[in-house]
Amino acid sequence: MKVECTIDGKQHILNVNSNKPLNRILFEDIEPALMIDNCGEGNCGNCVVLLNDQAALACLIPAFKLRGAKVMTFRGYQKSRFWHDIERAYEDTGSNPCPYCYASKSLIFESLLQTVAQPGQSESEVEQLSEQTIINEISLNRCPCLNHDEIIEIFNQGAMYRRRRRVRRY
């Protein structure tokens, strides 16, 4: 099956099996460094990517859903300005995810930050995420390198930077 999609801003025409999972496509057909391969069954949460700007597990996305889609891996995300909010939050709090889950946890943080500070939202419309929701979302990645307090601290710091960015832009 021929699939046309954008991966990290580059247009690709892939000739792959229609049911091939995205994590295998990234690893085998694009570039091995784009994906730390893992369980391949949706259990470890290590293959998070942004699919059309929404976080998704790459191992649960078949090739036929990629037609016309925009995929962003951690490498592509690092080139966006939004990455700096999370990077600075890591620096400020002094807590970093381990190298094994760094990419996927950062993308999960990004998906959470998108909900608290979307462009065009007024202060009253901003969704307040409970601590439990934040912990649950980050726990999608099963690596135990960050404790609950560190996760909340990183999120709050990142949200502060993201809100500042929003205020500056609008």
Partner: protein, 294 residues
Amino acid sequence: MYEGIRSPAVHLPRTMGDLISVATRFPNAIFWGGGTYIMSRPGYYINGKAQDIIYTGRIAELKRINRTDRYLEIGSAVTFEQLLSVGRQALPPLLHKTIESSASKIVRSQMSVGGSLATKGIRFSLSAALSALQAEAEVKTCMGIRTTTRWVEVGRLYDRQGNYILKSNEFITRIRLAFDKENFSYFIRTGKPIIDPSDSVTLAFACFYNQSVITRFNMCIIFPSSLFLVPQEVDISMQGALLPLSTQQIERVVKSVTEQINSEISIDVLPIQVERAKRFIESALHELNSTSLT
């Protein structure tokens, strides 16, 4: 690397007419909702048993959530996240709790209602919650050019072992939920049904009462791979009972349900599952008592 693997044909119908015509022409194809369960199976891609796929996620009619005077109607391709976005006002609290406790937001945005109900060989919490809420499913049957539609209670889509009993030419298109909200709901799930179904237990319980008299008492217990129990005798016997329930009444309900579980399950079910189910029922009934007194 995977030379022997066949690439399955993927059909992407956009209307119900297309879907029916594709389903008639390819009776062995599998319906693909969100794909979260199929793709999380060990060896999903490399086992080489690739069946043709009918992807339902592009049919606008199946992605709709409608609100009528009496019912909330949910298309079978609606994702869990979409359903949560309907809000607490429209969704029954039991359903809201069930969906919120299912996986994380990232996975929920892929899981579909139809997929969760119609997966073969395993039962998920959504079917327990919908069964306890006495929801109905619209089932379409393809018979050549002709199609028939009927509404079936969600609890009747499965046998007592939790096997999905619709035929291959039948599929779920919509779910219908009445707007009457339960006075008390209780949902609990332990274990991870997908990763280890052998020690997971789910209990969904909805109770309607009016001035301390129980009018509806609906319970559903699931062992993901071996049991789907709606204890109807208990449900009927509890109608008209006064709240709070006495210790004897609670014991009687627990005993009756446990007996039914023991008569239905096979030998390979772990005793821990039965024990958990028993404790969950006890705790649900005690909580019903405390809620009814406040």
